[in-house]
Amino acid sequence: MNNFVLLPIIIPFFFGMVLMFGQKSLRFQRGGAMLGLILAFASAVSLLFKVKEDGVQKLTFGGWPEPFGITMVSDMVSALLVTTTLLLAIFIVWYSFNSIGTAREQFYYYPAIMMIITGVNGAFTTGDIFNMFVFFEVLLMASYVLIVLGGTRAQLAGSIKYILINVISSALFVIAIAYLYAVIGSLNMADISVKIAEINQPAIITVIAVLFLMVFGLKAAIFPLYFWLPTSYAAAPPPVLALFGALLTKVGVYAIMRTYTLFFIHDTAYTHELLLWLSVFTILAGCIGALAYFDIKQIIIYNIVIAVGVILFGVAQMNETGLQGAMFYLIHDMIIKAALFMLVGIIVYKTGTTNLRKMGGLMKSSPTLGWFYLIAAFGLAGIPPLSGFVGKLLIAKGGFEAGNMWSSLFVLATSLLVLLSVIRIFIYAFWGEEKPVQPILTKAETTKLFIPTAIVILLSIAYGVGAEYLTPFMSDAGKLLADPSIYVDAVLKGE
């Protein structure tokens, strides 16, 4: 019994409820949101160290014996993701103070953020497959509110597509759970893992595995299910976009990672081969999109798709190196996507356009912004001292170990295209002659936005330089993913 596991979920939920009152008081809304996130972050960090010290932490509601109650499980994978989520949420909320506008802030913006964090943390921590569905709905419902809040024409058109696609994928999730329940007769994830191993994964389980891949692939935007992402994400205002880009698709990636390392591990020749090819095509589709657009939002949005492909490529290797690399890259990508969307937001607020052809010469008016953007771009591409390097190195190494030489070389080669796509923003927006701009916010206001952004970029540098310090955490996570018996024993047999 350890109620500690619940704190990163309960604290944002509680503050989300409290913030629904006093909607007009900006000081209350902002202060409450910040206080809630900082408290939750502190609890997540202590949980992370507890997991490091004592192994997997679990809590079954109501004291029921294990497969019968709902179990919350905090292992190294979920503890790392929860901590990163809360850390990024703090900076994105700080960024929102000066960018989202008071009208939105007074209309339940912060409660919606707290609820989305509740849903994301819950989905990362739960040990029950139906409970994961419920937490998905919590975060999706809050994301519907955030994407449409403000009600401009673009937001309305974008959010209708977003909601429709998520309603369909939620129905598919329910259907997949129904099939799994009919075959296995259990909802507890550890118990499902044991029972699938007992019946040695018959063909119907492989079908369900592909159905799960479709469900979570729709959330995570893998090829060929990524088509909804560019139009709907482009509709969201910058801080919301940073939150979505950093967190939402990563929940789908985590769910694929979890189900494909815990449930469906007995017929990897089919399921993981499929995952491998889909991830390669995801990277390819993302690269094409990222190079095709002259719209800065779209370029970074397609980079989300690429990163999802790279992480899933690591998962598809099913060896410890590849999975450890996938964890490294997942955390890196959450941080760097938040940073890039925050930077893109600043550029949009400064120039009043998302079109690269209408920008130029920003280096003269804001050199610091330019250099920080360049660092973030190099970090995204994985230039050695920066954050993207270790993850991609391990993923490629895992690929070579698993004997997938050509696809690993492909993943490495696409880093060049990633670099090209983000450097194009640097060249078009920061170099060249200064173009006339219609700033949306004043210079003082954009400077305020720059502080949280700079801290997130410094965090990503620290993440790359301090990879040595993080390696024990990541190798624990990699071991846990590579060997499901650690998870199963911790949940079903206790410490």
Partner: protein, 114 residues
């Protein structure tokens, strides 16, 4: 019995997919309604339609229906209620703002320049 239910659910899914591929937003929302009906019936069916008594503790009853799928459905129903209510209001709002309920006319936004 499960066999008949499978056909009914399959028909619901077919109708839902057909409606969701149409252009009018209201037809799409009716399609999502049918889709969630199908999914809920599927949970009930896949849980097994055995059991002669409702899952309520009573004297002398031995053969209960499986209570777990019913709890799952109840959860899924309220969730899809919430989402459908939100979706319907959104459709109403976008009909007011965009003056259309044709989803193929809802392109991008006002700042489209390429």
């Amino acid at each position: 019995m499960e066999f008949i239910m499978a056909f009914v659910i399959g028909f619901l899914f077919m109708a839902a997919v057909y409606l969701m591929l149409s252009r009018s937003l209201l037809r799409i929302i009716i399609g999502t309604g049918l889709l969630s009906h199908g999914a809920h019936l599927l949970i009930l069916t896949m849980g097994g339609l055995g059991g002669s008594a409702p899952p309520v503790l009573a004297d002398g009853v031995e053969d209960f229906a499986d209570p777990l799928p019913q709890a799952l459905i109840l959860t899924a129903i309220v969730i899809s209620f919430g989402v459908t209510a939100f979706f319907l209001v959104l459709a109403y709002r976008s009909y007011q703002e965009l003056n259309t309920d044709d989803i193929s006319e809802m392109k991008g936004g006002d700042e489209e320049d390429e």
